[in-house]
Amino acid sequence: MLVKQKRSALRMMNLGVSCVEYQKVELQGCRRESEKEWESIAPTSVQTRCLDHYPERLYQIHLRQQQDLYKPLFQKRVCFANRWVPPPVNDTVAKILLGYPYSLELYRSLKSKTELLDAAIAVGDGNAILAVVLFLVRTLKKNLVYQLLRTRPEAVAQYCQYLAIRLRVHELTDLLEMLGDNREASMKQFQLAVCGTMNPQRRLQKLQACFKNHFSLTDNKDRLLIENYIKLLDILILEWQLSMAGADAEIAKALVGQPVLSSLAYTCQHHWSEPKGSISAPLTLSQQQGVSDRQFQWTVLTVRASLHSWDDIEGLFITKSWLGGKKLKAAVSMEQVVMQLHAHGAPVDVLVKYLELIDNVDKRVGLAQKLQCHKAVVNVFVAKRDRQALISYKANLHPQSEDYFYAENSLRVSTTKWKN
């Protein structure tokens, strides 16, 4: 009956591939009882257009394995043993590896359990390792499980991953702390507190608890970061949402799930002019969170440029010293600044101003040409006192354009001492 079903199933699978004559094949170690059945299936089966029978055989092995036809192989091995004596550990692990039915219940002595675990680890099948560990957890007291796991990191990793996915937090933390891996434990807790909690207030509470339990030691290198995170959530949830009304409060809610720089960008856009020290002023937030100069300047630049407030940007990069001289304090490279300004449609005058601040003259000329800021190029040639270059550059400019006249005027200035 079974054979009939199988045969019809195989017929249905005929994929219309051209046939080659079937060659009878024998499989190692799996003949005997199953051989008759094997032959009865074979002639009806389909063949691939490959040159020989290997693809077909490969498929048949798969099929038999799926249908548990391999039992004789293992029965042969096991039958000599007493039913109460556990089978050799390697056989059991191989069964798990191949997906055959198996039972671990007979491994009752601690010694046999240990051997079983070691056999699974030696093969390296994570599935088998987990099966054994789950069995150990079920049948041994906690102390013994920990004792076994302590010297077997592969098993610990496998089990921890399982616990983490199943969200068994307490078991996981207990295990990790018992094994002395506090850092892993704290990270798992942090992950859960932050990524697993959507509600902002809850998240803040959980984070505070997590901080108290895991990160409060002074030598913890992540301590400061977590503290800052708590402060940020504090500001967003408690201060901003309360002090700002209406739409602002809504935005503050949305910012909870976002990085510091988003909040900073928000303050740059809506609270730019607030005095220093006010809780929603950009600089306050930036200092409190320890944002680097580079990131602060870049954020301000992007936001203020998108609002076309070019003057604010000047204030950002150029400070006036007491004697009236100008001093550049840029942490971002000027090329990047110019590109970003250009991307937000800054007028040529503004671009030229920042182009002049690029120290490397070649780079300055290259970028200026790319962005069509001819004035900056002309200025370079004047500074170099290179008349020939200026004349040839002028030839490429649109006659009668503003840039053209600028170049012509520069050539005409009598104070320049041309070198050629």
Binding site: A9, M13, L15, V17, Q28, G29, T48, C50, L51, Y54, P55, R57, L58, Y59, I61, H62, Q65, A94, I96, L97, L98, G99, A122, V123, G124, D125, G126, N127, A128, L130, A131, L134, R150, E154, V156, A157, Q158, Q161, R166, G180, D181, E184, M187, F190, V194, C195, D219, K221, L225, N228, P259, V260, L261, V291, S292, R294, Q295, V332, S333, Q336
Partner: protein
């Protein structure tokens, strides 16, 4: 010989297809198929909708949170064997049962059944209600000699989480492959997971049988853990296929050209799927070319097609008939393909062009340990101005080449990253640490048995020592020492022409040769014996083994199978294909998935 190799590779698909057919025919009657969306693309490589229909599949749904409306009483789920997805399926089934529906439920797991999932089914009370099937598909041939197991989650599972439950599936596919080709006489494994896979393959040979062929069509197999060569993942490739993957993301050999490349004229954001195959003459020509060479080729091709059309204008009637019947179709197909690739090229330039030069220069400096201050500055700038993936890539590359950053450097970059991408990424840095891609290993936490306090002070001390050491002039890191020993930095001379490469290092603009590619190269030229390869492993801290059968003769191997546990990159594939061309050896490249720098980082984040 060649053709038999090809037809065997074709057989892989047929076997996969029949495995699936077997499962579906065992479920009688009409059924609805609910597929995990991530499985769609790989499945398309194996089979088509019409094939599924012929096996009684009626409606096909994507597995989504929102649910769906099945019409048939037979529900068949097709999902990866992963606990979270399994839980979602359980929830859907339980919800359906509670509504008093009497449907029959089947779950097909790719690639294997797991103890953890069985446990879950039992706990959820659906054990017995649901029939479980497994679908262990064979390696999927993407194009030519390139195969992928399409297990994209595997890298993270193995290297970050230490979860080895997918290793048996990998071993199974390698066993199948050797069953088809004959047992490979020389097998080199590099890395701890590769070793275990090799062990499992041996068990499979014992338990499931081995082929009785006297000789194999592949003479040497290398199984390599991804952590042997992270640099090839992190560096920015310069080949067309590599950049295409970088910008658009190629999944299972198809690329989705979105509005950036396709709908530029009318501005519609419709996506166009495009199958990348060597049968597409144009793609075959440009896939491994240096990107700067691609555009010139495409424009010359465009002119050619244009003149072809012109020629047709002056044709006589009888000529025209012939032309329309034979060439026109080919020409239109070519025109379409040309349009796709030109669109893609433009998008790549738009995306990468502005920073390509400087990025490449910096990468080269980082590799060779030059201008450390500038490199660090560039990385910092990247943190401020570029996306999170590219900045983390640079950070990993810095750490990799200097054998880990100092604690201070790491802290600076970490803080900046958390500021721009959110504090929740603290976990990401913990993962990087586990991979050894952040601070010096002594400060890491991979040894779970050492008490925390002691570990940390030791780490601090090591950090301080390292700081002092790093200030000494001309310090060569272990990475650079290894690279120099293997000659991974090509000598760039006047003749070094990226457009007509003579050296696999061209895939990274002549700055780095992928490790495994160099190993194969040295094996072919017999500059390195298998035993010497074995010794190399210990110098990068991985374990390795050589396994030879009696049939192995000491002549240089001529056909290779290279298998990457944790994924292979398009740059590496291009490098191997060049090596094939240069040496005449046949090299099949396979991996658990196709990976690139961005996907690599994404799987850590």
């Amino acid at each position: 010989m060649q053709s038999s190799l090809e037809s065997r590779l074709d057989a892989l698909h047929q076997i996969s297809q029949r495995k699936l057919a077997d499962i579906l025919t065992r479920i009688p009657g009409r059924k609805d198929l609910i597929i995990d969306p991530v499985l769609m693309k790989p499945l398309e490589c194996i089979t088509g909708v019409s094939f599924l229909r012929s096996l009684g599949v009626d409606k096909i749904f994507k597995l989504e949170k929102s649910g769906f409306s099945c019409v048939n009483p037979q529900w068949v789920y097709l999902i990866y064997s992963d606990l979270i997805t399994a839980k979602r399926v359980c929830d859907q089934i339980n919800a359906n049962i509670h509504q008093d529906h009497k449907n029959s439920y089947h779950i097909i797991f790719v690639p294997s059944d797991q103890v953890a999932i069985q446990q879950l089914l039992e706990e959820e009370g659906v054990h017995g209600i649901v029939t479980v099937h497994t679908f262990p598909w064979e390696l999927i041939r993407l194009d030519g000699g390139v195969m992928s197991h399409e297990l994209p989650g595997l890298f993270r599972m193995l290297f970050v989480d230490g979860d080895r439950s997918m290793l048996p599936a990998v071993a199974r596919s390698l066993w199948s492959l050797q069953f088809l080709f004959g047992r490979i006489p020389l097998i080199l494994s590099q890395g701890r997971f590769s070793l275990q896979i090799q062990k499992m393959v041996d068990i499979l040979f014992d338990e499931l049988g081995s082929p009785d062929k006297p000789d194999s069509e592949i003479s040497c197999m290398l199984i390599v853990d991804r952590d042997v060569d992270y640099a090839s993942v992190l560096l920015t490739p310069v080949t067309y296929s590599g950049l295409l993957d970088e910008v658009f993301g190629i999944s299972s050999g198809t690329v989705e050209l979105d509005s950036r490349a396709a709908g530029t004229q009318d501005g519609t954001a419709k996506k166009v799927s495009y199958q990348l195959s060597s049968n597409d003459a144009i793609y075959n020509e440009i896939k491994n070319r240096h990107f700067s060479d691609v555009f010139t080729f495409l424009s010359s091709k465009a002119k050619e097609i244009h003149s072809e059309y012109d020629r047709s204008r002056n044709m006589a009637l009888h000529e025209m008939k012939h032309y329309v019947a034979t060439e026109l179709q080919k020409l239109t197909a070519m025109k379409r393909s040309l349009a796709y690739h030109i669109g893609a090229c433009e998008a790549i330039i738009g995306e990468m062009g502005h920073r390509f030069e400087s990025l490449h220069q910096t990468e080269q400096n980082i590799l060779e340990g030059r201008n450390k201050r500038d490199n660090f500055n560039y990385a910092e700038e990247c943190f401020a101005t570029s996306g999170k993936l590219s900045s983390l890539r640079l950070l990993c590359l810095l750490a990799l080449t200097q054998d880990g950053l100092s604690l201070d450097e790491a802290m600076v970059l970490k803080t900046q990253f958390l500021h721009c991408c959110g504090y929740e990424h603290l976990v990401t840095f913990h993962n990087l640490e586990k991979l050894g891609l952040l601070t010096r290993q002594s400060a890491g936490t991979n040894a779970g048995s050492i008490p925390y306090g002691a570990n940390d002070t030791a780490g601090k001390l090591a950090g301080r020592v390292a700081q002092v050491v790093s200030q000494l002039p001309k310090r060569v890191s272990a990475f650079q020492a290894f690279a120099q020993r293997l000659k991974l930095f090509p000598e760039v001379s006047e003749e070094y022409d990226l457009k007509h490469p003579k050296d696999p290092g061209y895939v990274f603009g002549g700055s780095y040769v992928p490790v495994v590619c160099q190993l194969v190269n040295l094996l072919i030229k017999k500059e390195l014996s298998p035993e010497e390869v074995l010794k190399l492993g210990s110098s990068i801290g991985t374990s390795s083994s050589v396994q030879k059968t009696a049939e192995w003769d000491s002549s240089a191997p001529h056909s290779f199978l290279v298998y990457f546990v944790g994924g292979v990159t398009y740059a590496e594939i291009a490098a191997f294909q060049l090596l094939e061309k240069l040496t005449g050896a046949r090299i099949l490249v396979a991996g658990t998935s196709i990976i690139n720098g961005n996907r690599f980082i994404q799987s850590i984040v």
